[in-house]
Symmetry: C2
DNA sequence: TCAGAAATATGAGATATCTCATATTATTGT
DNA sequence: ACAATAATATGAGATATCTCATATTTCTGA
């Protein structure tokens, strides 16, 4: 992890102002940090001392279960908070946050900001919205997992993450995210290829029959 | 649904003050409502016009999927909000809320309160905490569902809902909540009886070997 | 550049869970 | 008090998903 200082720090703070998220001047408290790919921004079980706001990059939220299984609970993208649970709750089991790519974020130290943050209507309104979206998505994912087999959920995931019609995610990550075994994921993936929905190109998979995937994913749509 | 007026309304408002949740006088806006068991407080897909706060009783959050499956996403208890998602988000698919028992709640009309609520630091702080707990529990449930078979989750559910050592929930409700088929739930329940963890008494089940259930449920514990 | 680690692949058998069919009780409204 | 509805029960076969074992290929650090 690298902390940006002086010019570099200043540039980031100017280019990515977060002043609109607060009603008091926040800049002086902000530490600008860069995490490398695969680096842990927060370690599981270790309470962080900062509230983070992601400026650039992506990260993943992980939790490890007692039976050894690992769940990738969610992805974190730009303009999202990290560590807000610890800001709000004294008792909270801290999940692990790992940078997927190089990630730059603003870090606000709890000990200097907490009181002010919890009094700030602008910040609280932002956070409330953020949390409501988070809770809603989580509930949707949860109920979809219960109601549909992998086929449907995987189809949606492929459509969401495909880059110019090509799916390239790492299988292991996807298994953790969709909560299935490696073996089974590959099995369903092979089916998609057999049925002509996808075509393997080296390590990647080209979407051939998008409509079929759209139909499978469409089942998840709530409404 | 019955709306309490005059004396009855007044008594409820006095006995269950929610003044501490707001920094402005809220009483004049509050409608006191009673829903009967099984009545729908909010119908799925129909945006409500009120923010509810449950005073007495219990309710369930349901969502119906396109494949016809129904998920019981969560239970709602006393001193919890309902309809906060619709207060915060313009676009939101409204889930169905059904009273499990007779339920009394305070209803705040959006059109009269929304602006003030979203400016109120006390309310926002309460709501933020509520949502953070909600999101956290949802995430825990989600990842546990992916990581553990029914056996473990059902054991926990039995321990949580048992009344003086006797489990009495309706199977159908539990299936919707744990996201498994009726058949499979009964199957695991029969196993618990075979193994001597539970003993059937008419329609109910007495917990005989609590330690075994505790061990199964303990696997879910994160940490 | 080479060895170890990570990621990809595939097979085979086990288990968890689902679907459907069908009976037998409770519960409830009129 | 009775018919309709809801809830409980159980069997049997199908499917989704898991575990474990084992190869091969790619990536990465010293």
């Amino acid at each position: 992890m690298e902390i940006y200082k002086n010019e570099k720090r200043k540039r980031y703070l100017e280019d990515h102002s977060i002043a609109h998220l607060f009603s008091f001047p926040i800049v002086e408290f902000v530490e600008v940090r860069e995490y490398k790919r695969d680096e842990w921004i927060i370690q599981e079980g270790m309470r962080p001392d900062f509230l983070f706001y992601v400026i650039e990059g992506k990260a993943k939220i992980y939790i490890t279960h007692l039976n050894g299984k690992v769940s990738l609970i969610n992805f974190i993208n730009e303009n999202e908070f990290v560590g807000e649970m610890e800001l709000l709750n004294d008792v909270y089991y801290t999940k692990g946050i790992q940078a997927t790519t190089k990630t730059v974020c603003f870090a606000l130290p709890f000990h200097r900001c907490r009181a002010q943050l919890l009094e700030d209507v602008v910040f609280l309104r932002e956070l409330t919205k953020f949390l409501s979206v988070k809770a809603t998505k989580m509930a949707a994912k949860y109920s979809q997992t219960l109601a549909f087999p992998l086929e449907n959920r995987f189809a949606e995931f492929i459509l969401q993450t495909a880059d110019e019609g090509v799916y390239k995610e790492k299988h292991i990550t996807v298994c953790d995210f969709l909560g299935v075994s490696y073996r089974h994921l590959l099995h369903v993936l092979a089916q998609f290829c057999d049925k002509g929905y996808l075509q393997k190109e080296g390590r990647h998979y080209r979407i051939i029959k998008k409509s079929a995937l759209v139909e499978l994913a469409g089942m998840l749509r709530i409404e």
